[in-house]
Structures are given as C-alpha cells and as structure tokens.
C-alpha cells in the first residue's frame, strides 16, 4: 500500500510545490498593477540614431523604477510596462502608432518623438485623449503658448523636455566663445554657421545666429542640403570667406562627416561641433591641431564633470545602447520618467491627467540632466544649463568642460519661443 501511496504523496507534494511556484508570481503580479507607457521613436529610417536613444533611455528608466519596487500610487504599486513603437522616421507611421497606443492600448503617457513636426502631429492625438506627452524638441517653443497649454488647449498635456532654443543657443554661443578665444591669435570676430537645410536646422540656426551676433560676432549662414556626404565644395566656399570659427550646427551625423573634411581642407582656425559628444570624438580618434569645442544635447557623454551623469552613461551603455554621436539626447527623456512617477504618487491616481499636469508644473525635481532641479515653466518648458567642452589641441580624449547658464532674456532680434 505504501508503495502505492508514497508515490502519490510525492506527486501531490510536487504538485503543490509546482502549483505554488506557478501561482506565487501571479499573486505578486495581482498586487502590482501595470502602468502603460508608450514610446514612439525612429528605430529605423534616417532619424534612427536619435530615435534609438529615446528607446534606450526609456528602457533604462523603466528598469530602474521597476527594480526599485515600482510606483506607489493610491495604495497600489504600479510597474511600468513600455509599449515601444518604431515610427520608421515617417510622420504617417508616427500618427498611426500614437493612435494605436492611445485608443487601443490605453497608455497614460507617451515619450517621443525626435522631431518637431512628428511631435506636433502626435500632440493632436494625445491632447484630446488627455494622454501626457514628453517631447525633447526645442522647436515646440513655436507652438507652446498661453492659449495652447491652458486647460482645454491642444497642448495642455504636452511637455517640452528641452530648454527653449534661445536659451540653449545663448548658453552655447557664450560657452564656445569663452573656450576658444584664449587659444586663438586674435579675438574671433567672424563666424560661419554651417547647418543642414531642413525644418529643424532652419529653426535652430535662426536662434543661434542671433545668439552669436549678441556676442559681437559677424555671422554668415551657409546651409547644406540634408544627406550631403561630400562637403568639400561647400567647405571650400566657406574657406574663401576667411572665417575665424566654423560652427557645425545641429546634426551630429552630418557634422561627423563634414568636420574631418574641413580639417583636411584647413577651412578655419577654430571649430565648434554641435551635437557631438566627446565620447564619440574619442571613439573616432578625431584629432585636430586647431582648437575644437563640442557641445552636446544636453550634457556631454565622455566629459561631463558630474558623477551622476558619468554613472548614467555607464548604466545606459551597460543596457546595450549603441555609442552614437547623439547618445546624450537620451537625457532629454530619461529624467521625466521619474518626474512623471513622482507626480503620479503625489496625485494618488493614474487616471487624473489634469492633476498630474498641475503636479508637474509645481514640481522641482533633481534629475541627472541638470545640477539644479528641473522645473517646467508656464509654457511646459524646462530650463537648464548647457555643457560645452574644449578638446585640447592635438588630442582625441582630453577635454575641458564648461557649464554655461542660459541668458535671462532672448537676444535682440530673437522673438523667443
């Protein structure tokens, strides 16, 4: 009899253990609610190097929040569940993705996208659905105004996670000139801004030119067709203008293509590369005997003086993110996961977006991107300093960083935004 029962008991015990083992996670999951967050970014197509940084930042933030126990809201614990959609660098796919995330999946917030027109298109879907949207496009400043962000306005739930362009341009211009001037034969007077001729390039350069002029520079603007590969004819033209500084503006990939060509053609006595992290400068073993400054969007991977930033990039790359020219763009998205989580905890509900907007507008949050707390202004825009760094001439990996605060007001001729 025992011979019969023993195996039965053993089987029962095993069954009990197995059942408990299977049910335990389900019990735990029943206690942990799911907070659905959408991410819309280019994981293919021409914006992929910027888009992938958004996804990588979202994955890192969600992992860290979930690993720390999740978000405690109204007596419940929520774990972030990301719904990542590839917009294929296509505005129509962006719109379709946003519709799916909002209407079918029911996300509470969306992070993305990488460009102005895509973000605006998405806001027309997230706004009516009262879904929060965090977009790192400074060009949103053109549409974020008193009316659009007021309750009932179409951008009431949209937040610009990058400073206003006149602020970024002002602090960048000041930082570039302060680092380059001591290394030049004479104080620089003539700058050429070299920028991609697309909507973002036109918007950004319009502010940067004004910022340089406010610093006493005579500025020429030379635009190149997007996707240019061989810059030598355009750089030869710039060389003929005899500039003191050439400012490669906005697109990191294009800058990394054009800058080595400029060095070979000996175009100018000094350079500034916007959107190029020191980390990628070192990885590429770029070297110039002329002084070169870099600024990043918004802080510098590879030379930031802040331990929090250094630690962030260590974790960021440890999770498998690619080392690209715009890796620091990820920091336009990362902190806001924690800010949003904190707002939800304060509100005590994930289903009260109006209260979450109010909480975000009142919040001061100490994140990684800035040594001072992040604060949204009345137009849902943040303000923080810009890091500019100098590459020591003749080296690839020796940098001197400067942190420049944004100016108090737009320069003459700049209407703000």
């Amino acid at each position: 009899m025992k011979k019969v029962l023993f195996p039965f008991r053993l089987t029962s015990t095993r069954l009990a253990v197995a059942t408990f083992g299977l049910l335990a996670p389900l019990v735990a999951q029943a206690q942990d609610q799911e907070l659905k967050i959408g991410v819309v970014a280019a994981q293919s197509g021409s914006f992929v190097s910027a888009g992938n940084t958004i996804v990588a930042a979202a994955n890192l933030a969600a992992k860290q929040i979930n690993d720390a126990g999740g978000i405690k809201v109204g007596g419940k614990t929520y774990k972030i569940k990301l719904y990542i959609r590839d917009n294929r660098t296509d505005v129509n796919v962006t719109i379709a993705s946003a519709r799916e995330l909002v209407e079918d999946i029911g996300v509470k917030a969306i992070w993305g996208t990488e460009t102005h027109d895509f973000s605006v298109s998405m806001a027309k879907i997230t706004g009516p659905a009262k879904v929060l949207q965090f977009s790192g496009n400074s060009s949103l400043g053109a549409v974020l105004d008193d009316k659009s962000v007021a309750p009932g306005g179409w951008l009431h739930y949209t937040f610009q996670t990058e400073p206003q362009e006149w602020q970024r341009s002002g602090s960048t211009a000041k930082g570039v000139l302060s680092l380059l001037t001591p290394l030049m034969d004479h104080p620089p007077k003539h700058s050429v801004v070299f920028v991609g001729n697309d909507a973002t390039g036109q918007y950004l350069s319009s502010h940067y030119v004004k910022a340089l002029e406010a610093e006493g520079q005579q500025v020429d603007l030379v635009k190149y067709p997007p996707d240019t590969t061989d810059f030598s004819p355009l750089l030869t033209r710039i060389k003929g203008m005899h500039p003191d500084i050439v400012h490669f503006w906005y697109n990191g990939d294009s800058t990394l293509t054009a800058f080595p060509q400029a060095l070979k053609l000996d175009v100018a006595p000094a350079y500034f590369l916007f959107g190029v992290d020191p980390g990628i400068y070192a990885e590429r073993h770029l070297k110039s005997d002329k002084p070169v400054t870099l600024s990043c969007v918004p802080v510098c991977w590879g030379s930031s003086p802040y331990p929090e930033v250094q630690n962030y990039f260590k974790n960021y790359f440890a999770l498998g993110a690619a080392k690209g020219p715009q890796s620091s763009v990820s920091l336009l998205y990362y902190d806001y996961f924690f800010m949003y989580a904190k707002a939800l905890e304060q509100v005590g509900s994930i289903d009260n977006p109006d209260a979450v907007v109010d909480a975000l507008l009142k919040m001061k949050y100490q994140g990684v991107v800035s040594p001072v707390p992040l604060v949204f202004n009345a137009h849902h825009q943040v303000t923080f300093a810009t890091e500019v760094c100098l590459v020591q001439p003749g080296t690839s990996d020796q940098f001197k960083a400067a942190v420049e605060q944004p100016p108090a007001a737009p320069p003459p001729g700049d209407t703000g935004g």
């Binding site: 021409s46 992929v48 590969t229 061989d230 033209r237 080595p260």
Partner: protein, 289 residues
Amino acid sequence: MQILIQQLINSLSVASVTILIGIGITLIFGLAGIVNFAHGEFLMVGGMVTWFLVSAGVPFFVALIGAMIVVGLLGFVAERGLFRFTLDRPMNGFIMSIGLSVILQHVVIRLFNEVQKTIPDPVGKVWVVGGVDIIAMRAVVVAITAVVVAVTYFGISRSRYGIALRASIADQDTAALMGIPVRKYVTGVFIYGSMLAGLGGALMIALFPITPFTGSVVIIRGFAVSLIGGLGNVGGAVVGGLLLGLVDGLSAGYGLPEWTDAYSLVLMIAVLIIRPQGLLGGTLGPRTS
C-alpha cells in the same frame, strides 16, 4: 583663383564614386533591363564590409577586394534568386529592388547597428600645391576610377566578350542562336556591376562615414548620372558623372549652397527633355522577341 582650382579638383573627386555606381547601374540595365534600385545598398554593403574588415585589422586595400567579392556574391544571389524571375516583367524587378533595398538596410542595422561607420584615412596625406589642397586619398579614388573606366570601356568595345555582350544587348534571341550564352552574360554583368558597387562602397568609406541609409542617397545620383549620359552607355556614365561633379562643385562654390542637389537634378531634367536618350545615347534595355 585658388578657390576656383580647388573647386574643380573637388568636382573630379565628387564625380568618381558617382561614376562607379553609374557604370554598374548602366551596365545592368543595358544587358538585363533591370532597374536595380538596391544598387545603392550594394554600395553601402561594400562600405560596411570594408569597415568590418579594416576594424578587424585587415589592410584597407585587401578589405577593398574583400568588399568587391562579398558584394559580387550578393549580386550573384540577387540575380539568381530574385531578378532572374522578373526579366520578362521589368516593373516587377524594379519594385522588387526597392523592397530589397529596405531589407538590406535593416539587415545591416541588425548586424552592425544604425550608427555611422568610419575608418581611418588609408593614405592620410594632404598635398598643398600652389595653395590648393589635394587630399591624397581622393587622388587615389580618382586614379582607381580612371582605371576601372578604362578596363570596362575597352573590355566592352574591344574584347570578344564585349562584342558578344553588345550583340546580346542588340538582340538577345539572335545572339542566343549564334551560341552566345545570354543568361550567363546577364549573370556575369550583374556580378560585375555589383562588384563595382562594392568597390564604390569601399572607396566611399575611405573618404566619408557611411550609414545603413547611405545607399538610398547615392542611388539617386547614380541614376541621374546614367540617365544624363544615356542609360546603358558606359561612356555616357563617365560624361554624366563628370558633368554632375562639375555642377556640384561650382554650384556649391558660387550658387545657392542649399540648392546644390537641385542644380544637379535640374541638369538631369533638362538633358532628358532635350535629349531623351541621354547625351551619348543609351539603350532601351535588351531586345527580345
């Protein structure tokens, strides 16, 4: 004056890689009647293979040959596995090639990620002659292109195979009756054109960084060169490339810089209106009964 001479030298180097891709396109269309829109991605793959090999420690000029072989094999597989089935329906082949270009982009992203790739300048010298900067690697690219153009041109116009090739273009059925293995020639030309794309990619990454999307940019210029010169005409591709390079260099130097691409395409449109067959006259693809 120095700036003008510099721009003329720039024009020559701008033209070189475009000529290489233009010859590949024009040859493949001329014999097989295939409008291969994935030809730009073949070039991109050549650049990526070069980057991979150079990063692994292989000398550049060995990596260049490796890229030509790999892309030649890719061309073989594409011709045998895909385009062979569309020879009677060129539009199907064209649409298929667009699909293939997207697939190749994503395969490369999956294998190597999306970040642009670069290699150290294999020559790394700049000669200054009379105040004009001549980048040594660009001079090497121009020289290699000149050799390839000469070999291709004389191969087609003088050799026994070239005569058979031209006979196949003139009339495939009659050529086949004369004992010319037309199908093998189609495959051979596709492989040769693909190898030129591989060479173009290897030379391109020696000059500029490339991304998985580089091909979709250069293919437009490749077709512009082929159409300006006359689709199917190797000499036409050379003339078209030089003209386009000259327009690029001079318009960037003295016109509205942001319109540089537009000037080239305006030239193409003008040529196609005035001389629909291209400057040197092209073919309408292979003739079959």
